[in-house]
Structure formats: structure tokens, C-alpha cells
């Protein structure tokens, strides 16, 4: 038997992420892992299982629900929680939902503010979580590219990008005072392609929306917007069935599909090697205004 002593890129990324997850679980008082049901969350969940196998994942997974997620996502979430047996917590901003918060009437920026950022901050406060793991990657967006792996948040959950703690080697400074918290990003150094290659290598289940199928959409300023339960059509818009898939998953009013015939993980990997647009072009919220992600992150968004 030949011993292989070199590590592949995926081996190295996996080892780094598991180290980070273990460090959180060892040093946090009340750790939690965000679970957004997307591909990055699926990879993070898998890594958490590996980090503690055969013991169960020693922290809860938190989903911030907006009632605007695709039904397939919610089904998948509940199936995973059942099959894997993790402690799933779901939080919604009920007050905002009861008053009818939605992106069509209040705009995407305010809707996100209520249903995602506010809901997240409330959930974290209620759970008194001090270390919160998220699946964000540095290659997603230019302000994310600047963020530490262990990213400090003040008493109000705010990020101060000009005063980040330096981060040396793999020696993460996890010290916090009461009320302060950290966002931790185990997938910091992964790219979209790494995520899919890892999903292929480890045979990780993902939401079927990632795979091409005929779906009901309308074409709006170059994007394929899915037609969901509450979707409001603009004058002259007619839903049509198009072969497409989702490159990222979020709330259906704000997530564009891409025309694609990639119906398997391998086909997605092949497609991504050729693709000329970044994945966040399919998110309506990111390009509302210049620096919108940095602003939202300062306020406490992931």
C-alpha cells in the first residue's frame, strides 16, 4: 500500500474548516451554526458531522426563515434534520411578517432589514449565542474578501472593518466579554467550484433546485425570476416554462435562476468552469447600491 503524504486542495480546505469548527465548539460558551439550506450550508453541515463523528453535532443549527423561501428548501431542511438528527432551531420575525413585510411593497433593502438582519439579531440575542458560524466565502463579494475567519462583533452585533483583530497563523483569538460575539467562517477560503467539487467527492445531498429542470419563471431585466405563491407580475409579464437552475438559493422573490441544462453535480462543475458571471449576479439584493454588502455586514447581516 502506497502512503500518500501530500494533500489535495480539497483535503487542505476540509482540514482547515474542521479545525475552525472544533475550535469554536471548544472555546464558545454557546455556539451555533447558521443553516441557510443552500449548498454552502450543506457543506458546512457535512464538515460539522465529520468534526465530531461518531458523536452528534454538539451545537444547534439555526435557520432564519422569512416565509419567502422556496418550499423545496423547507422540505429539504426538515428531511435533513430528521435523517441526520441535528438540533434545528427556526426563527422568524413574526411581528414583521404579521404586518405583511414583503419586498414588493417595501423594497428589497427594507425587507431584508426586517426579515433577515433583524430576525437574525433577535434570534442570536434570544439564544445568547456567542459564536455564530456562517457559510460565507471570501470569494463571494469584495467586502467579504476582507473579513477575518473569526470576526469580532460588538455588543450590538456590528462589524467594524477598520478595526479587525489581527489573525495570525491558525491561532484564533476567541476571547469575548459578556454580550460581545463572533461570526466565524469555516469556508472562508473555499470558492464556488471547491464547494461543488467537495459535494461531488463526499456525495453530499443538496436541494434539487440547484439542478436544471423546467420551471415557471418570468424574465425581468435579464434575470429569470421564479414565480412563487405570492409573486406579483408586472404589467405585460407572462410566466413561461424555462429549463433553468438556481446557482444560489435565498428568498424566491430575490433569487434569479440561470438558463442551464446542468442536471447533475458533475454537469454543474463543468458548467462552472465555463461560466463568465459571478454567482451573486443572481441575487437581487446585492446590487441595490454600491457597497450594500459592506453596509449590511456592518449592521449585523452575515
Amino acid at each position: 500500500m502506497k502512503e500518500i503524504l501530500s494533500l489535495t486542495v480539497l483535503d487542505e480546505l476540509e482540514a482547515e474548516a474542521i479545525q475552525i469548527i472544533r475550535e469554536v465548539s471548544a472555546e464558545a460558551e454557546r455556539p451555533v451554526m447558521m443553516y441557510s439550506i443552500g449548498k454552502d450550508s450543506s457543506v458546512m453541515l457535512h464538515l460539522a458531522r465529520k468534526a465530531f463523528h461518531p458523536a452528534p453535532i454538539p451545537f444547534p443549527l439555526l435557520h432564519v426563515d422569512t416565509d419567502l423561501k422556496f418550499p423545496e428548501m423547507i422540505n429539504f431542511r426538515d428531511r435533513m434534520a430528521r435523517e441526520i438528527g441535528f438540533d434545528l432551531r427556526v426563527h422568524k420575525n413574526r411581528q414583521a411578517l404579521e404586518t405583511g413585510a414583503n419586498p414588493w411593497d417595501m423594497g428589497t433593502v427594507r425587507c431584508c432589514g426586517f426579515l433577515k438582519t433583524q430576525a437574525l439579531l433577535d434570534a442570536l440575542r434570544e439564544g445568547r449565542y456567542d459564536m455564530v458560524m456562517g457559510g460565507a466565502r471570501r470569494d463571494e463579494e469584495r467586502s467579504r474578501a476582507k473579513e477575518r475567519v473569526f470576526s469580532f462583533r460588538d455588543l450590538h452585533g456590528q462589524w467594524e472593518p477598520r478595526r479587525q483583530r489581527p489573525e495570525f497563523w491558525q491561532l484564533y483569538n476567541t476571547r469575548l466579554h459578556d454580550g460581545e460575539s463572533m461570526r466565524i467562517f469555516p469556508l472562508s477560503n473555499w470558492t464556488e467550484l471547491d464547494v461543488w467539487r467537495y459535494i461531488a467527492r463526499e456525495a453530499i445531498p443538496v436541494v434539487p433546485l440547484y439542478f436544471a429542470a423546467e420551471r415557471e419563471v418570468v424574465e425581468r431585466s435579464g434575470q429569470l425570476i421564479p414565480v412563487g405563491e405570492k409573486t406579483r407580475l408586472l404589467p405585460g409579464e407572462r410566466p413561461e416554462r424555462r429549463l433553468c437552475r438556481f446557482r444560489t438559493l435565498g428568498c424566491y422573490p430575490c433569487t434569479g435562476a440561470v438558463a442551464s441544462s446542468a442536471a447533475t453535480v458533475d454537469e454543474i462543475i463543468m458548467e462552472l468552469q465555463e461560466v463568465r458571471l459571478s454567482e451573486r449576479t443572481t441575487r437581487v439584493i446585492d446590487h441595490d447600491q454600491d457597497g450594500s454588502m459592506e453596509r449590511k455586514k456592518r449592521e449585523g447581516y452575515f
Binding site: 500500500m1 502506497k2 502512503e3 500518500i4 503524504l5 501530500s6 494533500l7 489535495t8 486542495v9 483535503d11 487542505e12 476540509e14 482540514a15 482547515e16 474542521i18 479545525q19 472544533r22 475550535e23 465548539s25 471548544a26 458531522r49 465529520k50 468534526a51 465530531f52 463523528h53 461518531p54 458523536a55 452528534p56 471570501r138 470569494d139 463579494e141 469584495r142 467586502s143 467579504r144 474578501a145 476582507k146 472593518p161 477598520r162 479587525q164 483583530r165 489581527p166 489573525e167 495570525f168 497563523w169 491558525q170 491561532l171 484564533y172 483569538n173 476571547r175 466579554h177 472562508s188 477560503n189 470558492t191 461560466v275 463568465r276 458571471l277 459571478s278 449576479t281 457597497g291 459592506e294
Partner: protein
């Protein structure tokens, strides 16, 4: 053909330069030219009113914070990702401003290589010296000095050589090892991805080719096994294991291990990476270890091999980058984090501060933000630590405030008596100037052209008496006669000199192989074909040799001649002695031989003549000695 079977590895490099050296342009152009930018990102680099042909403002790409775009400077590290068929790259784009030194040090602590930019018009600035100093302090083993804006000095070779000489003089005092100088023009992309049509006098590779080919696998310490335990993995009544990331070395299922600080010894019952059981784990891997005995192990403990234990230290001597707003003052107590442990420590002394601009040492009562100096801490509890130059993980620690929790500093451990380990500041002499000088100037391609061959190492392995030396020397003679530059490194001969201090224990055998592999690598670097003749019985040692020499240059030749044939030959009478019990640890009799599982070629000298074997070996070499003219 080689590229197809090559598994890409990962290179993390840092870029640093002074304001206006053109760093953002260089990174942006590099990413653009390798096709790593998405169209929507490129579109965002054009201002709203600019047309399609307008120049792209690449600084918008790397300066991701609003404050950075408003002020036109880099404040914090930005990470960028790209890959080619050869390698995966992580760029840590570091700020050059003195006030953001801590952010640059953040990037440097993770990097395998630094690309330092210099404006050809301005030459070596005090800032660029400081960048090199910080990188050297944090142990970055290799440097590319990219001399940018060559278009603005008329692509003049004299200017390039002038800056190169000035930098060399400075770098020698820092003890920088591998330096490579590349003249570039980031605006036009010359010598980044493609060559430089305006600089025919430069014979070296463009930046990307250099980054793709530079050898880094030897940076990993595969010898000294260390596993800091992060967390106990416990399923009551069923399983108890210990999770951590291997800092260095290799651990195998069944190995005897020692737990530190308790000193308990036990064996590895099982190893896994999550759901899959594995036979071994190497430096860099996260694993879960189950032990045979029920010993007390907790977070912060260290697993090692009993024969190779790090030093227990109650004091730490270290070089330190201070990153805190409050100053370091002797007598004060801090928290330090070393591997997976937090310990309190008192600063006992500041030996000196180094002025990074002049490299002069000066006395200091305190270290302020961005200061660099040599210090001593006493620990409230001892730690097991290595020197930083031997082990980047067990040899480093951070300092944290007991009141604000801020990260106040990054420190690299040095041995108190070992003055060589220090950076070559003022008191050291430029002893290595010649070595450094030549490395940057002659490229592997130039050597290959001179010798009309590509360097390669044929690594002959097999039992004593299997014919290694006979074949090696015959092949050497054949190659020399054909006009090729080559050399045999022979097991017996090397033990007379270079390795006369080594015996035949597994550890000494490993060190024997390590040294020989390093020599073979140097000879390959010099352009020679190398033939080695060592029993090299252990697969792990041969893998280490492969890593040191480089997988592209290493060809394993297995002499499969059977034990009975070898014993029948017994040219040195060793087998007879071994059978009589006079030679303990003799391969094949009283010590194992692990046959290679996939050698490049297998030769049975019991079945084939020397001439037949030589023909097979020459066929192996055909690709390397083909005349390229």
C-alpha cells in the same frame, strides 16, 4: 503529459508594496490575464461614464472597503482566489502603510511566498525594506521582487540590475533565502502571465510561471510528529477519541504515542477523518484519534512520538511583532495562545527593538504599536514548544490582553542560545552573499540549455547486494561518455563524510535519506542528473525524498532482486554477519524492507544482465536528455 496527471496543490502568497507601486494594478492584471475575473466584476471596474475601451481601474477590485476606495489606500488584507492547471492560488493582498503593519503581518503568517513590489523609478524604499523584514520575521521562505513600471524607465536593464543589486545587499543582512527578481510592467501585463516583449534581456520566467513552478512541498515538516488536541470526541459508552489538526509529521494507526504533559504512553487504536477510518494522517490533516488505553487526555494536550519530544519550556524567547494599541511593558501579565492552549505569561525582558528601516537594534523600555523586537516571557505553566524555523505551528504564539481581549502581538520562538536562528540584524555579517547573488540570476531553463538536459534524480532502492551501486556507476559512466553532466550519490560513500554521524536506526535512516535528498535537489538545481544508490527501505522516507526533490524530478527505480539472490552474492559479508546476529537492524534479515508500490521501473538483476538493465534505465531518461537544439 505530466500536467495531466499532476494534482494541483495550493500556494498562498502575499503581495505588498508602497503606495503607488502599482500593486492593485498588478493583481488585477494578473487575475484578468489568467481569466479569473467574472464579466460582471470586470464591468464594475469601469466607471459609469467610461466606454468599453477605457482602462480598467483594478484598485476597485482589491480595495473592498468603502474607506479604502475613498482614501485610495489598502487598509486590510483582501483575499483573492484563482487557479491554473498547475496550482491553486490564494493571494493575500496586504497593506503597505506602516500604520497597518498588523494587517500585513496577518497575511505574512499564512504565506508560502511573498511578492514584493518596487517602483522602478523610485528603487528600494524604506517601506519596501520594512515589508521584507516583516515577511522574513514571520518566516516566509521565498520572495519574488517584482520591479514594476519598467515602461517608465525605458525598459532599461541597467536600472533593473541596479535595483536588484541594492536589494540583494539589503536582503543578505536579513538572511532572506530564495529571492527571484522579475522586471514587470503591470499596466501592459508584461512578464506577468506572458513574457515581456520590450525586455528581451530578461531570460527568466514571467511571474505566473514562477509561481506555478516554485517548489514548496519541502516546507512541510514531515519528520517531527505533533498533534495538539483541540477537543475530546465522546459518545458515552461507545467511543472516546481526540480531535485535532496534525501540526507536523506523520501518525500511523498502531504507532506508539506519548501524551504531553502527562507523559503517558499508549498506542493509536484507530484514526479517522470524520466518517472514514484512515491508516495514517499527515501534517495539515484534521483527524480523530482513538487510543488503546484509557488515559487522561484533554484540550491543549499534545500527542507526540516517544522518541521525538519537543522541549518543555517555562520561558519563551521570541521575536515579536507588537500589534496592540497599548504598549508591551516588562513586568506586565498577558494571555498567550500556543497551539490549543491559553496560558498566562509575564513579559520578563525586552532585549532590543529593531528599526525595520535600518535593521539596527536599539534599547527599548517598551514596544509600541507596530514595533518589532526580541523579548522573553515567563510562563505560569510550562508548554511543549519547538523553534519556529522547525515548526511554524508549535513555534508560534499570540499575545492577548487580559483586559480588552485585543490581539496584542505575534511571536516566533527562538532558542535562547541559538543566535543563528535570529534574523540577521546589525550584528550579523553578510556571509551568504554569494549564494544569494547567484540564485536570482540563472534560471533553470538557462542551466538546462547549457547542459542540454533536464535535471532528474533516479532513486535506486533495493536490498543490500541487489546491484544498486553497480548499476548506478555503470549508468553514470555511460551518461558521461555521452556528454551528460551527472553524479552518483552512493550510500556507503555518503556515510564516510556528510552522514558519518548517523547510524542505522529508523530515525537515523530517515535523516540519512533527508540529507541525501537535499543534496540531490541541490545538484538537480545545479542542472545535474543524479543517480542515488541507497537501500532506503521505508516508504515514508522515500516519499519524503520525493517531496524534497520534487515529484517532477524524482524517478523511483526498484531493484526487485530477491533476498536469496542478494544473500548469495553477499559482496560485503553483511548477510553472513546479520544471520549470525552480529548486525542488528539489517534490512531483509532483522529489519523490514517496504517494497515500492508504484516505481517508475522495476529491475530484477537476478534475471537480467547489467547491459539489459542499463538499457531500461536509459529509456527512463530519454525525455530528460533529448537534445533540445
Amino acid at each position: 503529459m505530466k500536467a495531466a496527471t499532476h494534482t494541483p496543490d495550493m500556494l498562498r502568497f502575499l503581495t505588498a508594496g508602497s503606495v503607488d507601486d502599482g500593486k492593485s494594478t498588478l493583481i488585477g492584471r494578473l487575475l484578468y490575464d489568467v481569466g479569473a475575473l467574472y464579466d460582471d466584476h470586470v464591468a464594475s471596474l469601469r466607471s459609469a461614464d467610461a466606454d468599453e475601451d477605457a482602462d480598467l481601474d483594478f484598485s476597485l477590485l482589491t480595495d473592498g472597503l468603502r474607506a479604502e476606495r475613498e482614501q485610495g489606500i489598502t487598509i486590510d488584507v483582501a483575499y483573492r482566489y484563482f487557479s491554473t492547471s498547475r496550482r491553486r492560488f490564494i493571494i493575500a493582498d496586504a497593506p503597505g502603510h506602516e500604520q497597518y503593519t498588523r494587517n500585513m503581518a496577518t497575511a505574512a503568517s499564512q504565506a508560502d511566498l511573498a511578492v514584493l513590489l518596487i517602483d522602478a523609478r523610485l528603487g528600494v524604499s524604506t517601506q519596501s525594506k520594512r515589508h521584507a523584514f516583516i515577511c522574513a520575521l514571520l518566516g516566509i521562505p521565498r520572495f519574488v521582487v517584482a520591479i514594476n513600471k519598467m515602461d517608465l524607465v525605458g525598459y532599461a536593464e541597467e536600472r533593473f540590475r541596479e535595483i536588484e543589486a541594492e536589494y540583494q545587499e539589503f536582503s543578505v543582512r536579513l538572511g532572506l533565502g530564495n529571492l527571484c527578481f522579475i522586471p514587470v510592467c503591470a499596466v501592459s501585463g508584461e512578464n506577468l502571465v506572458r513574457g515581456g516583449e520590450n525586455m528581451p534581456w530578461y531570460a527568466g520566467p514571467p511571474l505566473l510561471s514562477f509561481l506555478e513552478e516554485v517548489y514548496i512541498a519541502g516546507d512541510r515538516n514531515l519528520v517531527d510528529f505533533r498533534l495538539p488536541i483541540q477537543r475530546v470526541v465522546h459518545l458515552p459508552g461507545t467511543f472516546r477519541g481526540y480531535g485535532g489538526r496534525v501540526a507536523s509529521g506523520v501518525l500511523r494507526s498502531g504507532d506508539e504515542v506519548m501524551v504531553l504533559p502527562s507523559g503517558f504512553r499508549t498506542r493509536v487504536a484507530a484514526l479517522s477523518t470524520g466518517m472514514e477510518a484512515v491508516h495514517h494522517a499527515v501534517a495539515g490533516q484534521s483527524v480523530t484519534v482513538a487510543l488503546e488505553d484509557d488515559v487522561d487526555v484533554g484540550r491543549g494536550d499534545l500527542l507526540v512520538h516517544p522518541g521525538n519530544v519537543p522541549q518543555e519550556r517555562r520561558e519563551l524567547e521570541a521575536m515579536l511583532v507588537w500589534t496592540g494599541d497599548e504598549s508591551l511593558v516588562p513586568g506586565d501579565v498577558y494571555l498567550i495562545k500556543h497551539a490549543a492552549r491559553w496560558i498566562k505569561a509575564r513579559c520578563e525582558a525586552i532585549h532590543y527593538r529593531v528599526d525595520p528601516n535600518t535593521l539596527r537594534r536599539e534599547d527599548a523600555d517598551a514596544l509600541a504599536l507596530n514595533d518589532i523586537g526580541r523579548v522573553r516571557f515567563s510562563l505560569f505553566k510550562p508548554v511543549f514548544a519547538d523553534e519556529y524555523r522547525k515548526n511554524r505551528i508549535l513555534g508560534s504564539f499570540i499575545i492577548v490582553s487580559t483586559t480588552t481581549n485585543d490581539t496584542l502581538g505575534a511571536a516566533t520562538i527562538i532558542d535562547r542560545t541559538d543566535y543563528d536562528a535570529e534574523l540577521k540584524t546589525e550584528r550579523a555579517l553578510p556571509l551568504r552573499s554569494n549564494v544569494v547573488w547567484h540564485e536570482g540570476q540563472v534560471t533553470p531553463a538557462a542551466r538546462a540549455a547549457l547542459f542540454r538536459q533536464q535535471p532528474v534524480t533516479l532513486w535506486l532502492t533495493g536490498l543490500s547486494g541487489s546491484g544498486k551501486s553497480t548499476l548506478a556507476f555503470a549508468l553514470e559512466r555511460r551518461l558521461i561518455e555521452a556528454g551528460h553532466a551527472c553524479f552518483v550519490l552512493d550510500g556507503d560513500n555518503v556515510r564516510h563524510g556528510l552522514n558519518h554521524d548517523l547510524g542505522f536506526s529508523p530515525r537515523d535512516r530517515a535523516e540519512n535519506i533527508r540529507r541525501v535528498a537535499e543534496v540531490a535537489r541541490l545538484m538537480n538545481d545545479a542542472g545535474l542528473i543524479v543517480i542515488t544508490s541507497f537501500i532506503s527501505p521505508f516508504a515514508e522516507d522515500r516519499e519524503m525524498a520525493r517531496q524534497i526533490i520534487g515529484p517532477d524530478r524524482y524517478r523511483e527505480v526498484y531493484l526487485s532482486t530477491s533476498l536469496s539472490v542478494c544473500e548469495g552474492r553477499d559482496p560485503k559479508g553483511f548477510y553472513q554477519k546479520a544471520r549470525a546476529g552480529d548486525l542488528p537492524g539489517f534490512t531483509g534479515i532483522s529489519a523490514p524492507y517496504e517494497a515500492p508500490s508504484s516505481p517508475a521501473v522495476t529491475l530484477d538483476t537476478g534475471a537480467h544482465s547489467v547491459e539489459q538493465c542499463l538499457a531500461m534505465l536509459l529509456r527512463q531518461l530519454a525525455d530528460f536528455i533529448k537534445d533540445r537544439s
